[in-house]
């Protein structure tokens, strides 16, 4: 009789099976996700969000990159619509990712909608079985772990952020560009990704002198439509 067993086997014994597999597969990524959650909590509170608002954003938007986009625009004095608009542009890819998963889902409408909320880049990749099929159980396992880690680490980050009075003196505004480079990197290997990024940057800089910074970002998102498709 084994007292100790590998975590994966215990999950299997508890009948969690594939859900446990998904949760286990995402664990190596959890540290990185937690680190970014702490950074988001810190930057969001430094940009003027209350700790509760920062945590609610992680629980509802649940997509780090879009949250950083909104906070960076808000911190630079951009408008509410520009900040929310940039977040929505960054997240527009979830329409395509959700449509890809849809065929592998079952149950009623509300259940599909709830499952779809667990789709983020990492859980989507872990749930993918190949040939256009997805495991909804692996999505549930991986997505739930990521959700929990994201919200808890954001809350931890807000404690650090509250202690910072002058974000510029701390160099906190220097975090955004390298952060977006790290988030952009995987997109550069996709078809048309590099062209879209370069056109986006060029259009934003051309717009910046004449429109507010947030609007320049949202306007540059249109570069995605104009950029050469690439091969």
């Amino acid at each position: 009789m084994q007292v100790l067993c590998a975590a994966g086997r215990c999950w299997r014994r508890l009948g969690l099976g594939e859900v446990g597999d998904g949760a286990r597969a995402v664990l190596p990524l959890a540290a990185a996700v937690a680190g970014l959650g702490v950074v988001f909590g810190g930057l969001a509170t430094a940009a003027g969000l209350s700790p509760v608002a920062a945590a609610v954003m992680s629980a509802t938007t649940f997509a780090g990159s879009a949250q950083f986009a909104a906070v960076s625009i808000l911190g630079a004095g951009g408008s509410v619509l520009a900040a929310a608009g940039a977040a929505i542009l960054v997240n527009a890819r979830y329409v395509g990712m959700g449509a890809a998963v849809a065929g592998s889902m079952n149950g009623r409408g509300w259940r599909r909608v709830a499952m779809a909320q667990l789709v983020v880049d990492e859980s989507w990749a872990i749930a993918y079985l190949g040939e256009g099929r997805f495991s909804r159980r692996r999505l549930l396992g991986a997505g739930s772990v990521l959700y929990l880690v994201h919200v808890v680490s954001t809350t931890a980050g807000t404690v650090l952020g509250r202690g910072i009075r002058d974000p510029l003196a701390w160099g906190l505004d220097g975090a955004f560009a390298p952060l977006f480079v790290v988030l952009l990197w995987p997109h550069l290997s996709t078809r048309g990704g590099l062209g879209a990024a370069l056109s986006g940057a060029a259009i934003a800089l051309a717009l910046a002198p004449v429109v507010p910074p947030g609007l320049a970002v949202v306007g540059a998102g249109a570069a995605a439509l104009l950029a050469p498709t690439g091969r």
Binding site: A84, G96, A99, V101, W170, L194
Partner: protein
């Protein structure tokens, strides 16, 4: 309502709708590859714009300041696959130090 809360609620509601759109509206139907392509390119285009704005502008002015060093660290870090938290910490520290010296 504070601007912060307004952004949180708008971005949250918008994202939830985007995520729900796939399974609800497009369930079982293949969306056009062209549409998917455009949607997939919105993220890199927006990241490119954010990088440019967060590095080279200050309000309406085009500027070159210590944030350029942060961008360079980001590119090297992403290329060499350095953990994101390490990249960000070194970038923040570099900007804070350079700003004292500038």
């Amino acid at each position: 309502m504070s601007p912060g809360w307004a952004v949180v609620l708008l971005a949250g509601a918008g994202t939830m709708l985007l995520k729900a759109a796939g399974p609800l509206v497009l369930a079982g139907r293949a969306s056009s590859p062209r549409l998917r392509n455009v949607l997939a390119r919105l993220a890199p285009a927006t990241f490119g714009a954010l990088i440019a704005i967060d590095t080279f502008t200050s309000g309406h002015a085009l500027t070159v300041d210590p944030r350029v060093a942060a961008l360079a660290l980001g590119v090297v870090g992403a290329w060499r696959r350095v953990p994101a938290v390490v990249v960000l910490a070194s970038a923040v520290l570099t900007v804070a130090v350079l700003r004292r010296l500038w």
